[in-house]
């Protein structure tokens, strides 16, 4: 009995030691994929409890972080069938040049000339723009750009082809740059076409 308790405690301690460094990353991903803090916490708690129950299945030496994100992503997708369907939808993108894909190509071109000053002003607006992305695009963008996962890892995590990962990512980036160009025009950072 004492040995069993000790084993449980060791397993718990080991899991906690691996989980702790990932807590902020898991939280911000869950937060940005959920309606509010409450549902973000629900998803996160569900995912972490699943991970703990399946901890025996985790292969030591592989990435615990990727394993956790896979479980968390699945939890979010299981709770949102519409998101799963949109994630799997074929989104072929032939032209992967960001600038030429934008409606406000000229304005974005001006942003590219000196982006630092504009970016200093837009932190809150960026968060809103990311929130406004289509969920599938947001999910892939967050995994790649914020959490640093490789395309291949995202493909495995979300169980979608690499090409689909790249398409979602491209669209997300194009929309965010479109937002920057709009913001730059509205704030007078670059002249609007009518000016």
């Amino acid at each position: 009995m004492t040995d069993t308790m000790s084993s449980h405690q060791e397993r718990h301690a080991e899991f906690m030691a691996l989980l702790e460094p990932e807590r902020d990353a898991l939280w911000r991903f869950s937060r940005r994929m959920s309606w509010d803090s409450s549902s973000a916490e629900d998803s996160l708690q569900d995912a972490i409890l699943v991970a703990f129950r399946k901890f025996d299945q985790f292969t030591p030496g592989t990435s615990f972080r990727a394993w956790l994100f896979r479980i968390l992503s699945n939890t979010i997708l299981n709770a949102n069938g519409q998101l799963r369907r949109s994630l799997n939808r074929q989104t072929l993108t032939e032209n992967m040049d960001l600038v030429s894909a934008l409606e406000k190509e000229d304005a974005y071109g001006r942003v590219l000339e000196d982006p630092e000053e504009l970016l200093e002003q837009v932190s809150e607006e960026v968060r809103r723009a990311v929130k406004a992305l289509a969920p599938a695009e947001r999910m892939v963008f967050l995994l790649r750009a914020v959490e640093g996962f490789a395309y291949k890892e995202i493909s495995a995590t979300l169980e979608i082809p690499m090409g689909t990962v790249m398409s979602h990512l491209f669209r997300a980036r194009a929309r965010l740059r479109e937002f920057l160009a709009e913001y730059a025009q509205e704030s007078g950072f670059v002249p609007s076409p009518s000016a």
Binding site: S37, Q45, R127, V130, R173
Partner: protein, 275 residues
């Protein structure tokens, strides 16, 4: 090695920045950048923009209260008694005390408290709060976490600025000072400060409650607009209760659970109040 032209380079630009190209393509792209100033400028600008877009998304830390609840749930799943938990890198024991909320741990119960009190207090002389107009528990917790258990010099400076007003509000809003117990559990006042939401002044008191950081945000409810209430953290629901001989309280609920309310005798536990 085929050196790509400018159009091909721009098509592969983001994949290059993501380090997703194979070695040959990466080399040929690098070769192009070393010879083409225009594409090199574009590369640097896109790198800057990508970093600028991502930076605001990386600065959000998990609230301590959320971590405490996760720890509690995991400890319960593991059957680890006493819920020995670690918070923010500091070894702090969260005791599972009386079972106030059924299976919820004390850490969960103490984690998030947002109380709005129907008391009109004398606003007296007021000063600006150093540029902050809304302090949520998440802000406070991020400060607390960054300080690894002790408040940072910046926070202390700000607390000093509004110390008199905060003490004034603590008394008027009947929030506990040092040494006043919350139920059977001691609360230690770590810090308090004036909080202003939409011009209405309240107080944000930060307590150490059995190792968990607990914040109480108290306002005269009559002065707070619905919009302002909606901006308060975790204000899932607001209800009015009559407590202590007619004192009317508005209690913010966390996921349908009454955590605590404020009364003229200090913060009281939900199950100690008849309503």
């Amino acid at each position: 090695m085929n050196i790509p032209n400018c159009h091909q380079v721009r098509t592969l630009l983001m994949a290059y920045l993501d380090s997703e190209l194979d070695a040959t393509s990466t080399l040929s792209m690098s070769e192009h950048f070393s010879n083409c100033g225009e594409c090199r400028s574009r590369l640097e600008a896109e790198r800057t923009i990508e970093a600028g877009l991502v930076a605001p998304l990386r600065d959000e830390a998990m609230p301590l209260a959320t971590w405490a609840r996760l720890e509690g749930a995991l400890a319960e799943a593991a059957g680890v008694s006493g819920a020995s938990a670690t918070q923010g890198g500091t070894e702090q024991r969260i005791t599972r005390g009386a079972d106030w909320f059924g299976r919820l741990s004390w850490a969960a119960a103490a984690a998030l408290i947002v109380v709005s009190v129907t008391l009109i207090f004398d606003q007296g002389e007021v000063r600006e709060t150093g540029g902050f107009d809304l302090v949520t528990h998440e802000v406070v917790e991020s400060w607390y976490r960054a300080s690894e258990g002790s408040l940072t010099p910046d926070v202390q400076a700000w607390a000093t600025l509004d110390e008199r007003l905060a003490q004034h509000h603590l008394e008027d809003l009947a929030l506990p000072q040092d040494g006043i117990a919350m139920g059977h559990h001691p609360l230690q006042l770590l810090d308090s400060r004036e909080v202003v939401i939409d011009g209405v002044r309240g107080v944000n008191a930060i307590y150490d409650c059995c190792g968990a950081v607990t914040t109480v945000v108290a306002f005269p409810a009559s002065g707070l607009s619905d919009e302002a209430k909606a901006r308060l953290p975790n204000a899932d629901e607001v209800r009015a209760f009559e407590v202590d001989g007619g004192l009317s309280l508005r209690v913010m609920l966390r996921r349908g659970m009454v955590i605590a309310v404020a009364s003229k005798h200090g913060v009281a536990l939900a199950d100690e109040i008849t309503y």
